[in-house]
Structures are given as C-alpha cells and as structure tokens.
C-alpha cells in the first residue's frame, strides 16, 4: 500500500507539472507538442525492453511487439517533431 501511495504521489504531482508547463505552450506549437508527446510516451519502451529480454517465450513475443511499436513512437515522434520545428522561422 505504501508503495502504491508513493507511485500515486508521483503521478499526481507530475500531472500538476504537466498542466503548468503545457498551458504556457502557444497554439502555434500545438502540433509539434502532440507529436513530441507521442515521442516521449514511447517511454513504454523501457518496460518493453525488459519483457523482451526475459527467458519466457510468451513474454519475449509480447515484449518484441511492444519494442517495435514503442520505437516507432520514439524515433518517428522525435524526428517528425524536429522536422516541423525546423520550419518555424523568424521574420527576416
């Protein structure tokens, strides 16, 4: 129970941090924000890696599938966000 409460505390505080940071992002950058958040939500990769590397073949299969999906999110998300952000230029 104590362990859960610790995790839950982190969860609630992180939501507050998210609200504070994200409300300050201007509408101009909302699309890169969404693709960028796709990229960081690929953090599931961390869990996927461990499942894939274990001995059981079932978890290796499940892990492998999630490694593929999460890596698409990470690489695809960061790259497409970078591509978009590079287009935003100041008036010269």
């Amino acid at each position: 129970m104590e362990m859960f409460l610790m995790s839950f505390t982190v969860f609630v505080l992180a939501i507050f941090v998210g609200f504070e940071v994200i409300t300050k992002i201007p509408p101009t950058l909302h699309t890169p924000l969404m693709s960028g958040s796709n990229a960081i939500s690929g953090i599931t990769l961390v869990g996927a890696i461990v499942s894939t590397g274990t001995e059981l073949w079932v978890t290796t299969v499940l892990g492998f599938l999630s490694v593929v999906l999460a890596t698409i999110n990470v690489i695809g998300g960061f790259m497409v966000t970078n591509r978009m952000l590079a287009m935003f230029k100041k008036k010269t």
Binding site: T28, L33, V46, A48, S66
Partner: protein, 463 residues
C-alpha cells in the same frame, strides 16, 4: 547501488522530458527542447539495457531496428497535411505497446517487478483497458482522417445501450483480472471487449470534431503509459505518462472551447441546435452576393495598407499555401503589412494550420491567433478568407438558434473589405449558409484557391 543508479538515471530522464516540453513554449527554443527530450529517452533506454533481468538481446535489438526504421521512414515521408493521421497512428501505437507490456508483466508476475500484487493487477487491467480503447479508437480516427471510413458521424439505434453494456462488461472483466491474476485469458478477453468499445466510441464522431478526438486519444495514450508505470512501479513511465495525459487534456479542452462544444456532446455525436427556422441559402444569398475577378481584387490589395489572411483547411486541400505565402511576400515588399489570422480549429488538429504555413516559409511572428487578430480587425483594409467557412460565419455571434451559436469566430465581417476565395456557395461542416458572403463589404472570388491566388499574384506584378 545498482537500483540507485537506474532510478537516478530515470529521474534525470524525467527532468529532461520536462525541460524538453518547456522548450516548446517558444519557437526559438523548441528545437533544443525536442533534442533534450530525445537525450532523456536515450539515457532511459541505455540504462534499461543493463537491467539484470535481461538474458538475451537479439529480439530487443531486432525490435528496435524494425521499429526505428518504420518510425524514421514515416517521419521523413509524411506530408504536413497528413500530420493528424500520423499523430493518430502514434497515439494508437502507444496504446498498443501498453497492452503488450502490461500483458507480459502479468505473466511474469512479481518476478519482474516489486509492485504489490493488488497494484500490479489493478494497473494491468487499467493498461489493457485504456490501451485497447486508445489503439482501436485511434485506428478509427486514422481511417476517418484518411477517408477510409465515412467522415460523417456513424449513428445507429441502440448505440448508447450497446456502449453501456460494453462498458459494464469491461468493468466486470477488469474486476475479474484483479481477482484472478493467474488467468491470462481474462486479460485478453478484457482487451478484446475494450477494443470493440474503442471502435464504437469513435465511430459516431463527425469529421469536424476530429481535432478533439485526436487530442483526447493523445491524452489516453499518455494515461496508458502511466498505468503501465504503475504495473512496473516505474516512476519515469508514470511521470511521462502523466505529462502526456495532461497535455492531451489541455488540448482537448482548447479544441472544445474553440468549437463551443462540450466534451460530452463531441463524444456522443450530439450536434448543436439543428438550425431549423434559420434562413435557407436562397434567402441569405439571393441577389446579394457580389463576385469579383482576381484582377479587381489585386487592385484592392494594391491600395491596402493592412491585409489579414484567414486560411482554412480548404487552402491546404488545394495546396495553395506556397502561392499564398508568395502573395504575402509580394505585398510586404510593397509596404503593406500582412498578417495571418489563425482560428484554433482552422486545420485538422491543434496547431495544424500554423505548421502548414510554416512549411510555406511564413515567419511564425506573422501568424496571429484568433483573439489577437480580432482586437484590431476593424482597422484592416482587406481580409482574404481562403478555404475557411464556419470559423468566419457571423451567425455564431448573431443567431442563438444556429448550430454554431456561441462558437468563437474570427470577426472578418468587421474589416473594411472581405474577399472570400471559394469554389461555390456550398456550406461548411456545420451545413448552414454563411451571411458573410452576402455582406455589402464582401467580395466572392469563385474558383480553385491555388489558381485564384496565382492569378492575383500575376495581376499585382503587372500593375
């Protein structure tokens, strides 16, 4: 000591993600922010690869190579007009990854994580449920955006009833998973039923509401990652998932506000007042619409000192961004001030129009949001509306019985002259006529957006 290093690295990753998002508060710092986020991810992945539970690496590496290649090709090939589809897909993949990780953790049981068994099972049920709804919901959203599934709201009788039954069933199965964690088939049954629910939840949502749905599913994909964090008692997943969840919720709220729709109405496919008793197209337009030629409009631009361009998704459909940008550059070179008025739902996802204009080399400081442009719109000499309809319909302000009543709009009707480029007088998503087109200070330029703008550029160069 080993756990300390891993958890400390995860903390550093989380901080890098937060700084990365902070970077997005200004276009100048955004590229660096994105790189910081990528560094955070690299660090998290590298330390995870040293985990002592891992006995073999071949499938991990294979998976990362395959996923990385698909992701890179997607990111390089995707057209900016198709960004909503890409984000919808990525939302879905995030959800699916959570289903599989949670499913694997359930099988491994407590050997893989230190989570107490109750937290493990509750969080696993949540991951499977949210993940499945996100994955299938996103696939339907993708299909609708791509035109593979009808963009219209698909409604059938008894829909609410079926959804309620499915929701109850999902709830029951979740409790089943919590009570019998050793029965893996229950978990996959839960995922199956939640998948049907995900499909049925997004099918009734109409094309105009897609920006809301994509934003909401973005939030769900974050929550799915957070739930997986609870499964594994892993703080970096919990923190990142909450950040993404919060971001999606904020964007959903902004989109709902921009369309004056409540989230419940969007989710259940409820439309605003039907607009019955409103005027028909003939009554609104009859004899009052003035049409002009590109040359005449060019003369107007020639005399204008301040011009505002209001782009809508129709502009992107006719690929007119680049001609519009060169028209603006030409006017600027003659000393005219040109700005863009961007409605929050001008594109098909939050901020979409800004990206489309940025791609056409329009500087970001010329892109003004709705509230900013509305403050001074009465001092604008010429407003050029291209490919937008409902977001400039003054009925939103004047007719409380209209389906768009109360929706915030760009008040282009208050400018000295309004030029509207449009193929015909056909209505927008809301299906109602637009009295703007019949105003005394309005001129219609009937034709393809791209061709009309190019004709104006040519006429301006000649004069």
């Amino acid at each position: 000591m080993y756990d300390f290093i891993i958890n400390f690295s995860y903390l550093v990753s989380s901080v890098l993600f937060i700084f990365g998002l902070k970077g997005l508060t200004h276009p100048r710092t955004a590229v660096r922010g994105n790189l910081l986020g990528a560094c955070g991810m690299l660090l998290a992945v590298v330390v995870t690869l040293t985990d002592r539970h891992i006995v073999s690496y071949e499938y991990i590496i294979l998976g990362m190579v395959v996923g990385g290649a698909i992701g890179a090709v997607l990111a390089m090939r995707i057209e900016m007009t198709s960004m909503p589809e890409m984000v919808a897909l990525l939302n879905g993949f995030g959800g699916a990854a959570s289903i599989f990780v949670a499913g694997a953790a359930l099988i491994e049981g407590s050997s893989l994580t230190d989570s107490p068994i109750l937290q493990l099972t509750v969080a696993t049920a949540a991951s499977g449920l949210i993940g499945a709804v996100t994955f299938w919901g996103s696939l339907v959203a993708f299909g609708k955006l791509k035109g593979l599934i009808s963009e219209n709201a698909i409604l059938f009788s008894g829909q609410q009833g079926i959804n309620s039954i499915l929701a109850l069933l999902v709830l029951g199965l979740s409790i089943g998973v919590v009570l019998n964690p050793e029965s893996f088939s229950l978990y996959w049954l839960l995922v199956g039923v939640a998948s049907v629910l995900g499909i049925l939840l997004v099918l009734p949502i109409g094309g105009a509401d897609m920006p809301v749905v994509v934003a909401l599913l973005n939030s769900y994909s974050g929550l799915a990652a957070a739930a997986t964090g609870f499964v594994l008692s892993n703080n970096v997943l919990i923190i990142t998932g909450s950040l993404v969840g919060a971001s999606g919720i904020i964007l959903t709220h902004i989109m709902c506000k921009a369309m004056n729709r409540s989230l419940t109405n969007v989710l259940f496919g409820v439309l605003g007042p039907s607009g019955e008793g409103g005027q028909t197209a003939d009554e609104v337009y009859g004899g009052k619409v003035k049409s002009a030629s590109p040359e005449e409009v060019a003369l107007l631009f020639d005399a204008a000192r301040r011009v505002v361009i209001v782009p809508g998704y129709g502009m992107a459909v006719s690929q007119a961004q680049h001609p519009v940008a060169s028209l603006a550059a030409l006017l600027e070179s003659r000393g005219t001030t040109v700005e863009y008025g961007i409605h929050p739902v001008a594109g098909r996802m939050p901020g979409h129009m800004n990206v489309l204009m940025a791609e056409a080399d329009v500087p970001y400081d010329a892109l003004k949001d709705m509230d900013e442009i509305n403050q001074t719109i009465d001092q604008v000499d010429v407003v050029l509306v291209i490919g937008a309809n409902d977001v400039v319909n003054p009925l939103a302000r004047t007719d409380p019985s209209s389906p768009i009543a109360g929706m915030p709009i760009i008040d282009v009707d208050k400018a000295k002259t309004v030029v509207v480029i449009k193929r015909s007088l056909s209505p927008g998503f809301a299906g109602i006529p637009n009295p703007l087109f019949a105003l005394d200070n309005s001129l219609m330029l009937f034709g393809d957006g791209k061709k009309m703008v190019l004709d104006m550029v040519a006429a301006l160069k000649d004069s």
